[in-house]
């Protein structure tokens, strides 16, 4: 063969490889297109209809050939992850035109966790996946295209990095780490995958691992060094090492002037130093620059939107949030923030619409769920004239009480031993510090805690709508409740024994909270709870922990007190019930007061003796039944009962099967 012919053959071969083997193209679909619907069967004749996945946040449609190993590589990597991580929650459909026998063999060999569908109706053609395999289409909400890839080899790697980014956007940090980790193991030179791995560690709260990843990346040459330093700047900001973070940001600006995210980090730091104008400049720079992953670029739009919203420019902030969501359709924060701008304008219907969009991305998101619940309640109240008039009447009474300083006394209480319901009210939480990605932290905090405390049955929390209406009528602003005297006055009017107030300080990546529980009768601080709320997935756990701490404080400082009303065998009737905070399993000590002892002119009051214990087994509104345990003397009517916290946290070991 002549050299010229050999050269032509070589060029042709190369072009085939370039065109088919390593091609990433978006020629079939563009981002945002809705994919064509189809209905296919697996080898067991089970029908799979794509339209049933319309509400799924992410679907991977993977066209492949069971005879081609390179076309299966990405699919098998995802399958490995799905097998390794039970909660991986990746929705994948494999589609092939291969014969039934070959698919059966493939299924037997690989035992995939997702269905392999037989394309007998030309679906591959609709997706332009007849020639180049694999063809991978990643769709987002409403089955709209997020990413489209064709070809194996390098393209599979690019697809996996993109998938890792997408899972990171969805806050599935562990799976993002796992996918990027797999790419790095196969190709240690993939700096994008390393960077995603670092940010996923940071979002998971593993700051040390993130720092290690970014440090190693920063030691590399070229793009890797810039990505590493940008990551390090983020890590230092999260650790509160402001100067170090800013110094690293300067280095990134020098070596990678096109990088966008570093300006977001700088903007956040400047905002937390109260330099809002300078922060705005940085966010605008971040928006103008091109080099960044979409999920980071979206943050720039969101932060500028937050800044404008804090200035009251809701229209402008909404535009920015919309841009953020158009870049990152999983950006739940920006979607919910847009709802909050409507909420602040009093448009609850539009607010709810946005919160529902946020919930479509992740129905378990605690922020969106709480905000949606509040908005729904407001809308229902707007329609419920009877309830509104009931609230108005109550508010009228409370206004009079507040002005006359007369506080409600329950006239049915005949003794000073029996407990009254434990009522708590949240007043004011100041929010200062940096600009978190999410707006409305204090609203969500107080609403969630109110719901959780009410669900405990032990504490009743005053309805936040009632407080809001009362403040309106008294011409008070929420911030006026920062004055403890005003807050206490309001708490007493609302018959609350405890007011919960405090401050929230946002630092990069987390929020510090200090909550004071103040006794309205004594004005003493019953408890100060200091804590740190991590961002991302831990917020739900942090909320529950705070709820536990408040409940523990209430039980420790205000144990329920009751009397024995009747005794039937081993069962006692108590004069407290569900309305006063008794729940199933509440433990009481039956106590016996000891008379004071006088010894050599000195009077001593011994501690009460515990003569039995009672565990509540049945509840009514105003009374309860309990079983007697550890009885040391016969229990009689009018014996005193006091709630015991020591033994209530965990009773019962092991599983009971019945």
């Amino acid at each position: 063969m002549k050299p010229v012919v050999r050269m032509i053959n070589f060029i042709l071969t190369l072009s085939v490889i370039m065109g088919f083997g390593f091609c990433e193209t978006s020629s079939a679909f563009s981002a945002g297109d809705t994919v064509p619907n189809f209905s296919l069967k697996d080898i067991n004749e089970k029908v799979y209809d794509l339209s049933s996945l319309k509400n799924q946040p992410m679907v991977i449609i993977y066209f492949f050939d069971v005879d081609s190993r390179s076309s299966q590589e990405g699919l098998l990597t995802i399958d490995d992850l799905a097998k390794q991580y039970k909660d991986v929650d990746l929705l994948v459909w494999g589609i092939t035109t291969s014969s039934k026998e070959k698919v059966l063999k493939f299924n037997t060999l690989t035992n995939p966790t997702f269905p392999i569908l037989m394309d007998t109706t030309g679906v591959s053609q609709k997706y332009k996946a007849q020639t180049i395999l694999p063809t991978i289409c990643i769709t987002g909400p409403e089955l709209k295209v997020l990413d489209f890839f064709q070809g194996g080899g390098k393209t599979t790697e690019i697809m996996l990095v993109k998938l890792a980014e997408r899972t990171l956007q969805q806050k599935k940090v562990e799976i993002a780490k796992a996918i990027s980790g797999k790419v790095v193991t196969k190709n240690p030179g993939n700096v994008e995958a390393k960077s995603v791995h670092g940010y996923a560690s940071l979002k998971a709260g593993d700051v040390e691992e993130a720092e290690k990843t970014f440090y190693e990346l920063s030691r590399e040459k070229g793009d890797g060094a810039v990505l590493g330093k940008e990551g390090l700047s983020t890590v230092y900001a999260q650790k509160g090492q402001t100067e170090k973070s800013l110094a690293m940001a300067e280095e990134v600006e020098m070596s990678g002037p096109g990088r966008a995210y570093v300006h977001v980090v700088k903007g956040d730091l400047l905002y937390s130093q109260n330099k809002k104008t300078a922060a705005e400049v940085e966010y605008k720079k971040a928006i103008a620059k091109k080099q960044s992953a979409p999920y980071q670029k979206a943050v720039a739009y969101n932060q500028l939107g937050r800044l404008y919203a804090n200035r009251g420019n809701f229209k402008k902030s909404r535009e920015l949030y919309a841009q953020a969501v158009s870049i990152d359709p999983y950006y739940i924060e920006a979607t919910a923030n847009r709802g909050l701008t409507y909420e602040k304008e009093g448009d609850w219907a539009k607010a709810l619409e946005n919160y529902r969009q946020a919930l479509a991305i992740d129905k378990s998101d605690p922020f969106a769920a709480t905000l949606a619940k509040n908005a729904k309640e407001r809308l229902l109240l707007e329609q419920d004239e009877e309830k509104r008039s009931r609230i108005d009447k109550l508010v009228d009474e409370l206004v009079l009480r507040y002005r006359d300083q007369t506080f409600s006394v329950d006239s049915t209480i005949e003794d000073d031993w029996t407990s009254q319901p434990m009522i708590l009210t949240f007043t004011y939480f100041s929010e200062t510090g940096g600009l978190t990605e999410r707006d409305g932290f204090s609203t969500v905090l107080t609403s969630q805690l109110a719901d959780q405390l009410n669900a405990s049955g032990r504490v009743q929390v005053v309805d936040l709508i009632l407080i809001e209406r009362l403040l309106e009528r008294l011409n008070l602003k929420t911030s006026d409740l920062a004055e403890q005297e005003t807050a206490l006055k309001l708490g007493k009017v609302l018959s609350a024994r405890i007011i919960g107030t405090g401050a929230i300080f946002h630092v990069h990546g987390s929020s510090l909270i200090t909550m004071r529980l103040v006794d309205t009768e004594t004005t003493d601080i019953t408890k100060v709870i200091n804590g740190e709320f991590g961002g991302g997935p831990s917020i739900r756990k942090d909320m529950h922990q705070l709820n536990r701490e408040i409940l523990t404080t209430v039980i420790q400082h205000y144990p329920l007190q009751a009397f024995v009303v009747d005794i039937i065998g081993n069962q006692v009737l108590l004069n407290l019930g569900a309305d006063q905070g008794v729940v199933l399993g509440t433990r009481f000590d039956v106590i016996e007061d000891k008379p004071a002892i006088e010894y050599r002119g000195k009077k001593m009051k011994p501690e009460s003796a515990v003569v039995a214990q009672v565990e509540v087994v049945k509840l009514e509104k105003d009374f309860a039944y309990g079983h007697l345990k550890n009885t040391r003397r016969p229990i009689v009517r009018d014996d005193k009962l006091r709630e015991n916290i020591d033994d209530i946290v965990f009773q019962g070991q092991g599983t009971k099967v019945w």
Partner: protein, 315 residues
């Protein structure tokens, strides 16, 4: 045929017992108690079920309980949740597949709930020993936040009242003699104060708000000599957050800066902490927070009590 009332009631009881027995047999399930609140247990179970792709229904049941019913058409979970105390929850789970009750399918659910039960406590901003002596709450009332300057050159410090006549001690850095500052009291009341005494060398200042104040920290109860490893507490306005309590350990011998000793402490020190009073375990005033080691939030420096006395005693 006439049936006596007694026999009738006997028959009804028997039927009820039989019904109860039938129900017990049909609803074979597993029951466990977890140290979780009802809200937390419900949240955890709901999340687990929705991640498994179940449609979820919720209803209130007797005795303050709730039931979650999850269904895919083929399989079904009925999970009943009752309080077992305000801080513990009893869960009964029944799994059915094709209308048959299947036993032993709860391991994954129990696993998820066990993991939730073992979640560490809310991340504390203070070191691991999170208990504070009760006196710190009383001391808190005498602590103030101090602001000076405008937006560009804004300065925020902590301070504490040492005289009910309205005299406050703070650090001196960033302040000038006779400068006017804003003082925010524990309850949120805002007063205007003036720097009446300053010693930049000792980094101490006195601010006068010329208003009678109830809470104050007496200098009569001070302590000079601290021991290495001793536990200390501070309350101040870090990051302008009033009333934040931190604890730490004296972890290094005193170092001399100029001619004055400074103590090094392993304690969270944030922007705005300077001027916070520091106490020992008995509630004695031992030092004032000077600042933090540059670039860290956990290595701080304290001005010893004796330096404060020296400053106050100066003419």
């Amino acid at each position: 045929m006439q049936v006596s009332g007694r026999f009738q009631s006997y028959m009804i009881t028997c039927c009820l017992l039989l019904l109860g027995l039938t129900f017990t047999v049909r609803a074979t399930g597993e029951e466990r108690v977890f140290p979780l609140t009802v809200a937390e247990a419900e949240d955890t179970v709901s999340l687990w079920l929705s991640r498994k792709g179940y449609d979820l229904y919720r209803r209130n049941i007797d005795q303050g309980g709730i039931q979650l019913i999850a269904d895919t058409g083929e399989s079904n979970w009925q999970i009943s949740i009752w309080p077992n105390s305000p801080l513990a929850t009893k869960i009964i789970a029944v799994f059915t597949e094709n209308s048959m009750v299947i036993a032993g399918r709860n391991d994954e659910l129990w696993d998820v709930l066990d993991r939730q039960s073992n979640t560490p406590a809310l991340t504390k901003t203070q070191p691991s020993d999170t208990s504070f002596p009760s006196f710190m709450l009383a001391k808190n009332k005498a602590v103030v936040c101090i602001h000076s300057g405008g937006e560009a050159g804004a300065l925020q410090l902590s301070g504490f009242i040492i005289d009910p006549a309205g005299i406050i001690v703070s650090t001196a850095h960033g302040l000038d003699y006779l400068q006017t500052v804003q003082v925010i009291l524990h309850g949120g009341r805002i007063l205007t104060g003036r720097v009446i005494k300053i010693n930049p060398g000792l980094d101490l200042t006195l601010v006068d708000v010329s208003t009678g104040l109830d809470a104050f920290i007496s200098l009569d109860k001070g302590r000079n000599l601290l021991e290495m490893g001793e536990r200390l507490f501070t309350v101040g306005c870090p990051n302008d957050l009033s009333g934040i309590i931190f604890s730490g350990i004296l972890d290094s011998p005193p170092r001399k800066v100029g001619s004055r000793p400074l103590w090094q402490v392993n304690m969270p020190i944030h922007q705005g902490s300077s001027g916070s009073p520091v106490f020992d375990l008995q509630g004695n005033l031992t030092a004032i927070v000077k600042g933090r080691y540059r670039g860290t939030d956990y290595i701080g420096f304290l001005i010893p009590f004796e330096t404060l006395i020296e400053f106050i005693s100066e003419p």
